[in-house]
């Protein structure tokens, strides 16, 4: 059984179809790249998966169950995400940011919090320990007490991943994890994605850095104008002419041939 199974997902905004009939499956523990030109609907597709947008049509199954249509329930079910434009809690410390990620995996309610029972203390301690581990895991063990907003850009991206991992996901969706990074930071990000994969967590990532995508992903899917164009191994996708055409446009002679073909087919 596939981990995630999106079938015929469609999202329309008024007259615009941002995502059209997209099928996508992710198997346990794989890294899947989602690429496509700007405006292809990649982020909208992510939003449909994570409950931030309700798809106009189509189903999304996670571990054989339909994913709920509310972001917090999606996270609880085990699908975590990061955002293209980083969305941390800027005035909380790095550690607090990650501890907030533990919210769905902890239980203390109002009475426990006010009553300060032993269970409450244990849970708080565990959350903090886990958060420290995660900060170390993403490679920044020493910044726990610094404000999220005062961290350097690359660290903010990694902190966002740490926060997502704190929700104990089975599938992690990364929206442009290397946007704005220099080559060193990109290499570190690739390592981090592999480490996440090493934990048995499947990763779907949207990315524009082709070297990053083709070097890292087990499979790559290409979205163009809201529809899935190709899906396959990096090698297949890389050499597919339709993909090259979608990114770079077509050669003039191809266009002429196409027009001729169109004329023939239309009576």
């Amino acid at each position: 059984m596939n981990l995630l199974e999106a079938t015929a997902v469609t999202k329309k905004f008024g007259g615009l179809t941002a995502v059209r009939d997209v099928d996508l499956s992710v198997s346990e523990g794989e890294v899947l790249g989602l690429i496509g030109p700007n405006g292809a609907g990649k982020t909208t597709f992510f939003n449909c998966l994570t409950g931030l947008e309700t798809p106009t049509a189509g189903t999304v199954m996670y571990r054989g169950k339909a994913l709920p249509r509310r972001p917090d329930l999606v996270t609880k079910a085990g699908v975590a995400r990061t955002f293209q434009n980083i969305r941390l809690f800027p005035n909380m410390t790095a550690l607090e940011n990650v501890v907030v990620g533990r919210h769905t995996r902890t239980k203390a309610g109002v009475l426990a919090a006010v009553g300060h029972g032993p269970r409450y203390h244990r849970e708080e301690r565990e959350s903090e320990e886990k958060a420290r581990e995660l900060l170390a895991f993403v490679g920044m063990p020493k910044v726990g007490n610094e404000l999220a907003k005062s961290l350097p850009y690359g660290d903010q991206r990694r902190l966002e991943i740490a926060r997502a991992l704190a929700t104990e996901p089975g599938l992690l969706l990364l929206d442009e994890p290397t946007a704005g990074m220099n080559p060193n930071e990109t290499a570190a990000a690739a390592e981090l994605v592999r480490a996440v994969q090493g934990q048995g967590i499947a990763v779907v990532l949207i990315e524009h850095d082709m070297r990053f995508v083709f070097g890292l992903c087990d499979r790559v899917a290409v979205l163009v104008q809201g529809a899935k164009l190709v899906e396959g191994t990096p090698k297949d996708v890389q050499s597919d002419e339709r993909v090259i055409a979608a990114y770079l446009g077509k050669a003039p002679e191809d266009l002429k041939a196409e027009k001729a073909a169109e004329k023939e087919s239309s009576p």
């Binding site: 955002f83 293209q84 434009n85 809690f89 800027p90 990620g101 109002v110 903010q156 704005g180």
Partner: protein, 581 residues
């Protein structure tokens, strides 16, 4: 502000080398002036005639002691000196004007005030001419010796006791309302005596501000704050003891205890509102309605003859039920409206507050069911009684001190505030408090991190309402009446002002804000109709000079005082920041 800076740099460039002699001379003159008479006639209180400084003279004398900082190179000293010298000047000038006005002309001022005025001016100039501090004052620790813990503990206890002292002295300065009883507030001419007395209070207030400013700028307040955090149990015990002991210091004066009890109610409600506004970031402009629900419920089941219900529930039950019913109202209002954010939510809550007031105004039997006696409200609410026959309306004698009955209500308020504070503090640092702050910081990210934002916002709303309901039910018995005009928008706005003024997200802030906001109008009655104007100006000034509030939470301080506050401060990726797929 920029003009101030320019003026200061001019003074500095011309007088820089002479800052020390000028400032010291000024402080010396100021101190000498304090030992000379400040008025030529008897009748202005506050010991203005003899050679022992008292009242304003004492305050100015104490402020002149800060001049010692001219001699030591202490970090933060020039900021501290600038503040204290300016306040010394203001107090001197104000007292001069008061003495002159009350005596019929400035000619009636004593020689001392003029000496002090010259001294204060030199003091200010000297302070302005000091070079800018190289670094802000650090938090200082005591040397690590055997006696360290003991001294630290004593300091913490001392802090709590001095807070009590400031409160007692401030409350104890007789003002018109105290001297002539609560009926004075109904109007009447201001006597000379009122003016002179209340000028004392004003000077005291300015002195406290100046001393706090000076001490905080040389880092002593922050150091003491760190100590209170380190010995938090001692601090809590000392603060609680101070609060409990307070009635014994009042010499049987019921009025001041009543004011203190009202401050307690106000503070408890403000802390409840702080959950909603300070932690969860939901702007609630109709909060007083929840307070009103609690008050009306307590009034209805109090056994009052004017209540339409002929029931008299035991008080413990009333308080719990009032809190629960207010909480239910909170959920009823919150469930449909919490999808709204910011301004929209504020408008809806504002509307709810008005609906509540108008509804209770009309439930008098003629336009609807008879429940609240309309505009007259439910009055003659009896005193509380405990099952053992203890009535809150009786005077008692404890440890040989006669205590007016108001002390009973005061202690009840202390318990309420303690409970509300504990709830707030523990919630704020729990998983739920963190989730609230996350929602305030970025609601969408909070949802994507697994926080059920709707439920948590509703929880904040309901908890705030519950605390307000409990406070309201007690207040109904303190003021003995529940009437619609106590629950106007102005009250909601005042509570919100207390939270913002004190510092969002902290209990100490809400407590301080509530105290200041309740006490100022109560004590500045000599201004009569100008009262609200002055009050408004004070609020504007505080928000201009200290936008994060008097006792801000660390988080809020960061937002205002560190480069790039708010969510937009997150680094935007260079280059293709706005690319969206």
């Amino acid at each position: 502000m920029i003009y101030l800076e320019i003026a200061r740099s001019r003074v500095r460039s011309k007088l820089g080398p002479f800052a020390l002699p000028i400032g010291l001379l000024g402080a010396l003159l100021l101190a000498i002036g304090c030992f000379l008479p400040w008025s030529t006639y008897a009748g202005f209180p506050g010991k203005m005639l003899n050679s022992t400084p008292g009242g304003a003279r004492l305050y100015v004398l104490l402020l002149s002691l800060f001049a010692v900082l001219f001699l030591v190179d202490w970090p933060g000293r020039s900021k501290a000196l600038r503040g204290t010298s300016l306040f010394a000047l203001i107090i001197t000038v104000l007292t001069m004007l008061f003495v002159g006005y009350a005596g019929g002309g400035l000619v009636n001022c004593g020689i001392g005030v003029f000496v002090a005025l010259v001294g204060a001016l030199l003091y200010v100039v000297g302070a302005q001419a000091l070079p800018e501090d190289s670094a802000p004052a650090p938090i200082r620790n005591l040397p690590d010796r055997g006696w360290r813990t003991l001294v630290e503990t004593l300091l913490v206890v001392g802090a709590a006791v001095s807070a009590l002292l400031v409160f007692v002295i401030g409350l104890g300065i007789p003002t018109a309302s105290v001297a002539e009883g609560p009926d004075r507030r109904l109007g009447g001419a201001i006597s000379l005596n009122d003016l002179t007395n209340e000028s004392q209070f004003l000077c005291f207030l300015l002195f406290v501000c100046a001393a706090m400013l000076g001490l905080s700028r040389i880092g002593l307040v922050a150091s003491l704050g760190a100590l209170t955090k380190k010995h938090s149990r001692v601090m809590v015990a000392a603060a609680l003891m101070s609060a409990v002991v307070f009635p014994f210091t009042q010499g049987g004066d019921g009025y001041s205890l009543r004011i203190a009890a009202s401050i307690g109610v106000f503070a408890a409600a403000a802390i409840g509102l702080n959950i909603v506004v300070g932690l969860a970031g939901l702007l609630d402009l109709g909060y007083i309605a929840f307070f009103g629900v609690g008050a009306y419920f307590a009034a209805l089941v109090s056994g009052s003859v004017t209540s339409v219900l002929d029931v008299d529930l035991p008080f413990a039950l009333t308080i719990v039920l009032a809190a629960a019913i207010s909480g239910i109202f909170g959920i009823l209002l919150g469930a449909p409206t919490l999808r709204l954010r910011g301004d929209y939510l504020a408008i809806v809550t504002l509307g709810f507050g008005e609906i509540f007031r108008i509804t209770v105004n009309n439930l008098d039997g003629s336009a609807g069911p008879s429940l609240t006696n309309g505009p007259n409200g439910i009055s003659n609410i009896p005193d509380l009684a405990l099952p053992g026959g203890f009535s809150f309306g009786d005077n008692h004698t404890l440890f040989g001190v006669d205590l007016p009955f108001q002390a009973n209500y005061y202690w009840l308020e202390v318990i309420l505030v303690a409970v509300v504070m504990t709830a707030f503090l523990r919630l704020a640092e729990s998983r739920i408090g963190r989730a609230w702050v996350a929602i305030r910081e970025d609601e969408l990210a909070a949802a994507a991190t697994g926080i059920n934002t709707t439920r948590l916002k509703l929880l904040a709303f309901a908890l705030g309402a519950t605390l307000a309901g409990a406070a309201g039910s007690i207040n109904a018995h303190v003021v003995k009446v529940a009437a619609p005009d106590s629950f106007t928008f102005l009250e909601s706005a005042l509570l919100l002002a207390a939270v913002i003024l004190g510092g969002m997200g902290t209990v100490q802030g809400a407590l301080l804000g509530a105290t200041v906001l309740y006490l100022l109008p109560e004590k500045l009655r000599f201004l009569q109709d100008l009262r609200l104007l002055v009050f408004g100006i004070v609020l504007v000034l505080i928000m201009r000079l200290r936008p994060e509030g008097l006792v801000p939470s660390k988080r809020r301080q960061r937002e205002f005082r560190e480069p790039g506050g708010g969510a937009d401060a997150l680094a935007a990726p260079p280059g293709r920041a706005e690319v969206s797929t």
